[in-house]
């Protein structure tokens, strides 16, 4: 089943066109990887999906259907609640871990202490952080290590109870261990969430994703099962990219 349907999407900033006529459907409860050289429009694509692009001074035309309804017909807040996002650089809010995780739930009206505690616990567990930092819930989140911060940001995104999770190069600043942790977590998540991940690391895309989309210069060149793309790409440019001709 397709949770997101993207039809003839054009996006850009001011006069600058970035995405050109992208159409693709995102499968529910699968991991979709977006690959492509730097500057090709991967981040722009992600931010279009939850309308964050508007915050960055960009705009888009074309149709994006979330659960078969135009995302423009949702409230901005509610589309972002449903489609969560995690950025490349982990930036926890400068509060305690606990407060980072209750920030969104409180906004969505949850006030009971017990319920909040529960949310914190569940999401930390989901992100595989609970055992590591269980005792220090009131420690400043900015004191966590890079990988922990990134996982915390993912946990924080989960607190808004999204159905889709967008990840923009979540591992680029991390070391092996943390990358492994996060990859395991993402694989676990795909039971409950739909995940779209941008990565410049082809090996990573190969390891974890079900589908892979290759974007070049704002155009969607190829979108296929990951296996297929990495073994037998149709487009020659995809082949070249995967073989490392481009960066």
């Amino acid at each position: 089943m397709d949770i997101l349907k993207i039809n003839n999407l054009f996006a850009g900033y001011g006069d600058k066109k970035v995405l050109k006529d992208v159409s693709m459907n995102i499968k529910r409860n699968k991991i979709t990887a977006i690959i492509g050289p730097s500057g090709c429009g991967k981040s722009t694509f992600l931010t279009t999906l939850n309308r964050m692009i508007e915050e960055n001074g960009g705009n888009f035309t074309g149709e994006i259907l979330y659960k078969d309804e135009d995302i423009l017909s949702y409230e901005k807040d509610s589309i972002r609640k449903n489609i969560g996002m995690v950025f490349q650089k982990p930036t926890p809010f400068p509060f305690s871990i606990y407060k980072n995780l209750t920030y969104a739930p409180i906004y969505y009206g949850i006030t009971s202490k017990a319920e909040l505690d529960k949310i914190v616990e569940t999401n930390l567990k989901e992100a595989g952080l609970f055992d590591e930092i269980n005792k220090d819930l009131h420690m400043l989140a900015t004191k966590l290590s890079g990988g922990q911060q990134q996982r915390l940001c993912i946990a924080r995104a989960l607190t808004a109870k999204p159905e889709v999770l967008l990840l923009d190069e979540p591992c680029s600043a991390l070391d092996i261990k943390n990358i492994q942790n996060i990859e395991e977590m993402l694989l676990r998540f795909s039971r409950d969430y739909t995940i779209i991940i941008v990565t410049h690391n082809l090996a990573q895309a190969k390891r974890i994703s079900d589908y892979t989309a290759f974007i070049l210069d704002g155009e969607l060149i190829e979108y296929e099962k990951t296996e297929k793309i990495f073994t037998n790409p149709i487009d020659s440019r995809t082949k070249e990219y995967i073989e490392g001709i481009y960066g």
């Binding site: 964050m52 915050e55 960055n56 972002r80 920030y103 969104a104 906004y107 995104a157 808004a160």
Partner: protein, 287 residues
Amino acid sequence: MRKTRERIFNFIIKILSLISLFLLAFIIIFIFRESLSFFMEVPILKFVSGRDWNPLDSPDKLSILPIIAGTIYTSLVGIIIALPIGVGFSVVLSSYTSDNMRRIIRGIVDILAGIPSVVYGFIGLLVLVKFFEIRFSFPTGESILAGGIILSIMMLPYIISTCDESMEKVYKEHSQQSNALGVSKSYMIRNLILPKSKKCILAAVVLALGRGMGETMAVMMVIGNAPLMPRLLDKGQTIPSLIALEMGMAEVGSLHYHALFASGFILMIILIVINIALHFVKLKIEL
């Protein structure tokens, strides 16, 4: 050759820094020296705890408790009015305006800092004091409140320029993350920007308090200059206005003259204590 140049540069920097620090220390010593002969005659405790000020009378009548209280009171009133307004305005500047707009507005607000205090005093006297007299039929509009309001206007540019830059930084750093969670902008302001700006708000308080407690002319013109224990709607007196008012007339070298320096010294001590206290509060906040 390059080494010598490097050495000369270092030397000049160090010397000039030393000069500025010495200059400042010098001023403190200067004030202390001028107050010393007064403190030899009137014990400092008595000076700050007595309630009479009559320079024409005996040394017994030289004490400034009501004036110290008036100084603090007026500045507090100023801060209490200016802080919420200044912080609120900074929030708007940092989160709701474009970069260019912000720069223009900040420039205009900064001009407020350059308007001579005499002018503030005059506007205060002719508009604010008059307004109190007519509107609320006070016998006189000169009051701590009037002084506080005028001070709050003078403090505004300091508060705004201290806060809005830091708030802007927090905003730029976290707004994306917060937006991505689907929460509203005002929620972010309340739960992220304001709490994160505690430190800069504190810095603004330090700066504004210093400015407020040292302000002379403007306060002098609207506060009535009566050395009473301060009450919000009554006249009062502040240390700088006392000094400005009487310094010109005081006989040089007289006890009165030195008493004025002594009150300046006390003001400085109060400020230093406040600064140190806030410095520690700041350290706490950092944790």
